[in-house]
């Protein structure tokens, strides 16, 4: 790379106003990040707090909370419930949503545009309304509230997000590619698993991650539809009145680090793949 000397930036000191202008954006960006990250930092720091009854004041550093994250009553039970609900809702919502996305993009049928519109409804409805409506439904058909109703509700609102995410991927897929599979003797099922599915996989994976995170931290809808069944967000909310145990901070910090790790790994894999392709 050669530098054209005629257009190289001059080294003369710039006017003070320019320097101030240049500093504003980074300063605001830094403040923005600070604003976003302070609560996270607080959660992580207080997971090491040698808390007594409440975890509001710093009482000294300890690793006990991390050694025994299930120490506080019900923390791990609620966490386990959230994992179960999250995983099951994700599997169901991702499968349903992907099929819906394929159907909405690939097939012409009566009511397609209406379906396209309706699929956005659960996303745009306020969660309070959604939760209350679901509760009314469950009560009127006399379904006992608990694990099943929570999963059903989570699938309901996760499906919309999955459809929107997966649809983008399906639309970018050249229909001729699936026709080529059929032309090369693949039955419709083989064409789906050998060609369509692998090509949609990045979109499906992104949709599944989104669905899981939505389900895992949902509080409002869960609160309406869970009855006595306790998920992690519900546990945190309820215990907030008595003081949240530091073990909850441990689990939250753990989830945060896990999510961060997943993002970093995906980025690294993508980077490694593109360098490998370029090296050939």
């Amino acid at each position: 790379m050669s530098v054209d000397l005629r257009t190289a930036p001059s080294r003369e000191p710039r006017p003070a106003r320019r320097r101030l202008g240049d500093a504003i954006v980074p300063t605001f960006a830094a403040l923005g990040f600070l604003f976003l990250l302070v609560p996270v930092a607080y959660t992580v720091v207080f997971s090491f707090n040698d808390a007594g009854k409440t975890n509001l004041v710093w009482r000294g550093f300890t690793l006990d909370n991390w050694r025994n994250p299930c120490g506080a009553p019900q923390v791990c039970e609620a966490f386990g419930h959230s994992l179960q609900v999250g995983l099951l809702s994700t599997v169901i919502a991702t499968a349903l949503g992907t099929l819906l996305a394929i159907g909405l993009v690939r097939f012409q049928f009566r009511g397609r545009s209406a379906a396209n519109l309706l699929i956005f409804l659960p996303m745009s409805t306020p969660e309070v309304v959604l939760g209350a409506a679901l509760l009314a439904q469950f009560l009127s058909v006399r379904v006992p509230l608990g694990f099943n109703t929570v999963v059903a509700s989570h699938v309901l609102f996760c499906v919309s997000f999955v459809v929107v995410t997966a649809k983008a991927r399906v639309s970018s897929l050249d229909p001729a590619i699936e026709e080529a599979a059929a032309d090369l003797y693949a039955s419709p099922l083989q064409a789906f698993w050998r060609v369509t599915f692998p090509l949609l996989l990045p979109g499906i994976a992104a949709a599944a991650l989104l669905a899981f995170s939505l389900s895992f931290d949902d509080f409002i809808v869960t609160n309406f539809t869970s009855g006595a069944y306790q998920t992690f967000p519900k546990f945190v909310y309820i215990s907030a009145t008595r003081g949240i145990p530091p073990q909850a901070n441990v689990i939250s910090s753990f989830m945060f680090v896990l999510a961060l790790a997943i993002v970093v790994i995906v980025q690294l894999l993508g980077h490694a793949r593109s360098t490998r392709l370029r090296a050939r």
Binding site: A176, A182, D183, L184, R280
Partner: protein, 392 residues
């Protein structure tokens, strides 16, 4: 090139048959109100290189897709090698397609792309067949690459190898060279022709490029509005078009309206064209009486300057004014405006170097009566001419 020959030989030796005949009988395809293919019947003999030529929207691609099984005809039957395949689906037909967009599987390597059809059929010796297929298109060294890492021409050849390794009864090519630049397209035309000759399969090539169709195909069917206008060898279609559409779509033609006035004893029709008597061999006229369009190809015309006289077997029109002269190297193209008849195009070989006349010159047009043809006078003289807005 030697490796190519080996691959091709192996493919040929393996072949139990050299393709099969395709028979399309009275096939129509209707989409809503639009008739894409209108009562089309067509037989393609086994082992031939057949081109379906027509402008975009003429129904050629729909016809191809019905043969592939990607569309089902509204009525009519499609048989390959004597077996009626109407109603069967794409994966059940012994037919493979080279798609216009190539439609390579982006998540599979080149080798896996080529192996795809063989694996689905549960064939043996897949590795050897894939290697042969890639040899045939001279891409054996790229078997491990992903399609996205190849150039357009290479992707095109992978698509071809992927279809050919299955040794289909009929190979369908849907505008396979459309996305390539001109030079590469010429090269691939010769390459495709060579491969077809070597493997001997039945090739059906869909294109809107008349030059491509004429260069490669043994038989060309010119399609328009869902019907076949005319079918024949490229030379037949060019020398003796039977409709104004074919006359204009395949090369260029000078068409002028006239009326048949007499049948001579020597088998010629005398046609009155704006007061001038033009002779047309009776066998080269669609009609033997009434209104006709008299036609002649631009390279058959000769410019007569000054006192030059035509020979006794030549037709003569003019005088007219030269309005444009463009030198193209091999030949010179003239536009001659003849009052009352319109503009004639004339291609003259540059045998003596340079152009013979300047714009504004008065010339007469002469051509051998044997090269004259006559079409139905009801045809529009400009049907099938190139419309720039229409080009796909």
């Amino acid at each position: 090139m030697t490796s190519t020959a080996d691959g091709a030989t192996a493919l040929v030796e393996d072949a139990t048959d050299t393709g099969a005949a395709l028979e399309i009988r009275r096939v129509s395809k209707v989409f809503g109100d639009f008739v894409a293919v209108d009562d089309l019947s067509l037989t393609v003999p086994s082992g031939s290189f057949f081109a379906l030529l027509g402008p975009s929207g003429c129904g050629k691609t729909t016809t191809l897709r019905m043969v592939a099984g990607l569309e089902q005809p509204t009525s009519g039957t499609i048989a390959i090698g004597g077996r009626d395949l109407t109603g069967t689906r794409a994966h059940q037909r012994p037919v493979n397609t080279v798609f216009q967009s190539y439609a390579l599987f982006p998540h599979l390597s080149v080798g896996e792309n080529v192996a795809f059809g063989l694996r689905r059929q549960g064939k043996s010796e897949i590795a050897r067949r894939v290697a042969e297929g890639l040899d045939l298109v001279e891409l054996a060294h790229l078997a491990d690459r992903r399609p996205a890492q190849l150039s357009g021409g290479q992707q095109q050849r992978v698509a071809l190898a992927r279809a050919l390794v299955n040794r289909p009864s009929v190979l369908l090519l849907d505008e396979p060279l459309g996305a390539l630049d001109l030079k590469l397209r010429r090269q691939m035309q010769l390459e495709l022709k060579r491969i077809q000759t070597e493997v001997g399969l039945t090739f059906i090539h869909v294109t809107h490029d008349q030059e491509e169709a004429m260069t490669m195909a043994d038989t060309v069917a010119v399609m328009n509005h869902g019907r076949i206008e005319q079918m024949g060898t490229p030379a037949e279609l060019y020398e003796l078009p039977r409709t104004a559409f074919v006359a204009n779509f395949l090369g260029q033609s000078n068409l002028v309206p006239g009326t048949v006035v007499e049948r001579t004893r020597t088998g010629l029709l005398a046609v009155d064209v704006a007061g001038t008597r033009i002779l047309v061999p009776e066998g080269r006229s669609v009609r033997s009486s009434g209104d006709v369009l008299v036609g002649v190809r631009p390279e058959k015309l000769r410019l007569l300057v000054g006192e030059q006289e035509p020979s006794s077997t030549e037709n003569l029109l003019g005088p007219g004014t030269v309005t444009d002269v463009s030198f193209t190297g091999v030949s010179t193209q003239y536009q001659v405006e003849v009052p009352g008849l319109g503009t004639f195009g004339v291609f003259a070989q540059n045998l003596l170097g340079g152009s013979m006349v300047e714009p504004g010159a008065q010339v007469r047009l002469a051509w051998s009566a044997d090269f004259t043809f006559a079409l139905d006078g009801a045809d529009a003289p400009d049907e099938g001419t190139l419309d720039l807005d229409d080009e796909p």
